[in-house]
């Protein structure tokens, strides 16, 4: 049968969530899952209170404490009084409005984008929002998931809807296959390097192609997570068997007959043959190498085999200037081989790369070796469940024996709102998602890499090509 009205995955999810539409106005879109955390919500609850409004659907709202939580001894009081106040405020707000909270002492606490999928809250076909730009992570399940600001958080709390203009659609097709030592992190760094940090602005990206299909859910999440670093409103992957297998049996996922029915429904969530995207980008998986960022945004990236670029070779004046400024901030000289850059710190963690698969991959690299004497290295699992699973598998022991710090779950040095920060001038190989100036601590220098590359750098004391490991 010929489909006369072929639709993209984005069209399907969008259309099934429009509550109300009027010409030239943003649509009122229904929100199935609203995730909240301590940093971007205090002012939203305050707004509700001032207007005498309630949370419309506390049952569709889930809260976590993650950004400020210490990763050391949690029995001790939090030293930063303002961090503490933010955490307390979240607890009080959740209590007042009847919202489920995974607080610092909850046995399943973790980074919001790690525990959503892990606890089975994130499912195909949903509209998911959170006051956090990396909400795009959840799109790996074939949902439309995106970050919003605090005023919008308040809007969702009050109405369970959002006013949104429909984004344009972009297909990023990754065909071929990935070589040995090349990971999902390299795929997304390669894509951002290619299309630029604003290359997907205004678009919801759907990742397709053989490479994407062959990836685990963890890897798909890594890719969708960093869609925002290319400016994308959302990143998504159509659900398939891998998705369904991941969801089955999760605490908040449908069970039994209901699960079977869900699969039937979810199976139609894909882009129809003949449907057109507004833009197409093709990448060959075979061309992707392990990457290392050299500058102060995730688009400033080169393969580990290359050298620091020369700003003179950039296209226009502005790019030349930003490259030169980035090199100055990073304390790097053009022409230096990436493999000669010595590092001081290693951070394995963040909502990009802190799931069990990431920790396993890194552990394989370091097994039986020792962290370089000049390097201090830490692992921060994305959630308590990940931490526990790793401990059951004995992975914690591999890290500890190698000289890594094994920490409690949270955002930690991804943004350093808790005490985990870089000192000025310190250079870090990090599995997180942002290498902006000062992101991991004022004056700190961040190089984004995959967990394997971070692990190898920790042992060698400088960047190395994991393919030669």
């Amino acid at each position: 049968m010929v489909n006369n009205n072929p639709k993209t995955l984005l069209d399907k999810i969008w259309e099934s969530h429009v509550v109300y539409e009027e010409e030239s106005q943003p649509s009122i879109l229904y929100v199935d899952l609203h995730l909240i955390h301590e940093v971007t919500t205090p002012q939203a609850f305050e707004g509700l209170r001032l207007a005498g409004r309630k949370v419309r659907r506390p049952d569709l709202t889930v809260a976590t404490a993650d950004h400020n939580t210490p990763t050391w001894d949690r029995a001790k009081p939090i030293t930063d009084p303002i961090s503490k106040q933010q955490l307390t405020t979240l607890s009080e707000n959740c209590k007042e409005f009847g919202i489920t909270l995974y607080d610092m002492n909850h046995p399943l606490q973790g980074i919001v984008h790690v525990i959503g999928p892990e606890q089975g809250y994130t499912r195909p076909g949903m509209v998911i929002v959170c006051g956090d730009s990396h909400t795009s992570t959840h799109g790996a399940f074939g949902s439309l998931a995106f970050g919003i600001g605090t005023s919008e958080v308040e809007h969702v709390l009050a109405t369970q809807t959002l006013r949104q203009f429909k984004p344009k659609s972009m297909e990023i097709r990754v065909d071929g296959s990935l070589g040995f030592g090349v990971t999902a992190k390299d795929v997304i760094l390669g894509i951002i390097g290619k299309i630029g940090v604003a290359g997907a602005t205004g678009y919801a990206v759907e990742y397709t192609g053989e490479v994407i299909r062959s990836l685990s859910m963890e890897s798909r999440m890594t890719i969708c997570n960093m869609s925002i670093e290319a400016g994308g409103r959302a990143g998504m992957v159509a659900p398939d068997k891998t998705t369904f297998q991941y969801i089955e049996g999760r605490t908040n996922a449908p069970k039994g007959e209901e699960f079977d029915k869900s699969i039937e429904k979810w199976s139609s969530l894909n882009t129809d043959v003949g449907a057109e995207y507004d833009k197409l980008v093709c990448v060959s998986g075979d061309d992707i190498e392990p990457y290392v960022t050299w500058g102060t945004n995730p688009g400033m990236v080169v393969p580990v085999t290359e050298v620091i670029p020369d700003p003179e070779f950039f296209d226009n004046l502005q790019e030349k200037e930003s490259a030169a400024r980035a090199l100055k901030y990073m304390g790097l000289k053009s022409g230096t081989p990436i493999s000669e850059i010595a590092i001081d710190r290693v951070f394995i963690g963040s909502c990009t790369n802190s799931r069990i698969e990431d920790l396993e991959a890194a552990a394989l690299i370091i097994q039986g070796r020792r962290v370089n004497a000049n390097v201090s290295a830490m692992v921060v699992p994305g959630s308590y469940a990940v931490k526990k699973e790793a401990e059951n598998l004995g992975i914690d022991k591999i890290f500890k024996d190698a000289g890594f710090d094994w920490r409690e779950a949270g955002c930690s040095m991804c943004l350093g709102m808790n005490p985990d920060i870089l000192d000025p001038g310190e250079r870090c190989a990090s599995t997180s998602n942002r290498n902006f100036e000062g992101r991991q601590g004022k004056g700190g220098r961040t190089h984004l890499v995959s967990p394997q590359m971070a692990a190898a750098a920790a042992i060698a004391g400088h960047f190395v090509d994991v393919r030669d490991w």
């Binding site: 030239s24 009122i28 605090t150 602005t201 502005q318 942002r434």
Partner: protein, 196 residues
């Protein structure tokens, strides 16, 4: 939210691209639980030395620009973190409008929720405005949202700009989106019933 009708103000050129919200308001200042008081931390790491003194060569610190309310800047302004604190900080500092060739999506949205008008202009126009601002120690401009024009007193500058009509309407009237949406509560209830 304050309605935005006509803004008369002075420009300050911040000629960089990809300015991310981590630069606009570094994370150590995100911990307040109010919407106000973020202005003093705006561009903190660019504005201040480690000892808290002002960095003399940073453009916002120049005396002539202290009272500027219009920020002129490069592509992809406001990228990165969704923190609305970035819009609050710019507003609290005194900015009421930002002119750039492009903005990051979430930041762009956040501005409208706070009476801060982001205006997208063609890159050549922005480059001209930045050059003229530098040559004249800032330009005195009027931004008339109703008629969608930016002009100066002798009309040497007279630029039309585009804006989505719904956002314009909300800005002109200082309207709270939540109130508007709640007018459709019956449709939300109906949607929820059908969904179950």
């Amino acid at each position: 939210m304050e309605p935005f009708k006509i803004l008369k103000g002075k420009t300050v050129p911040l000629d960089r691209v990809n300015i991310d919200t981590d630069q606009i308001i570094p994370k150590q200042f995100l911990k307040r639980i109010e919407r106000t008081g973020f202005g003093e931390f705006l561009f903190n790491d660019w504005r201040f030395n480690n000892d808290g003194s002002l960095k003399k060569d940073f453009i916002l610190n120049k005396d002539i620009y202290r009272s500027s309310s219009i920020l002129l800047t490069g592509d992809n302004f406001g990228s990165g973190s969704s923190r609305e604190h970035a819009a609050w900080a710019l507003y609290d500092y005194g900015f009421r409008s930002i002119l750039a060739p492009s903005f990051a999506d979430i930041f762009y949205n956040n501005c409208f929720q706070n009476g801060l008008l982001p205006i997208i202009l063609p890159k050549e126009k922005i480059i001209d405005l930045i050059d003229e601002s530098i040559n004249n120690d800032g330009l005195e401009l009027t931004i008339d949202l109703e008629s969608q024009v930016i002009f100066n007193i002798n009309l040497e500058i007279n630029i039309k700009f585009d804006i989505d009509p719904y956002r314009k309407y909300c800005m002109l009237n200082g309207l709270d989106n939540i109130g508007l949406t709640l007018q459709h509560i019956d449709k939300i209830e109906k949607f929820e019933k059908l969904k179950n």
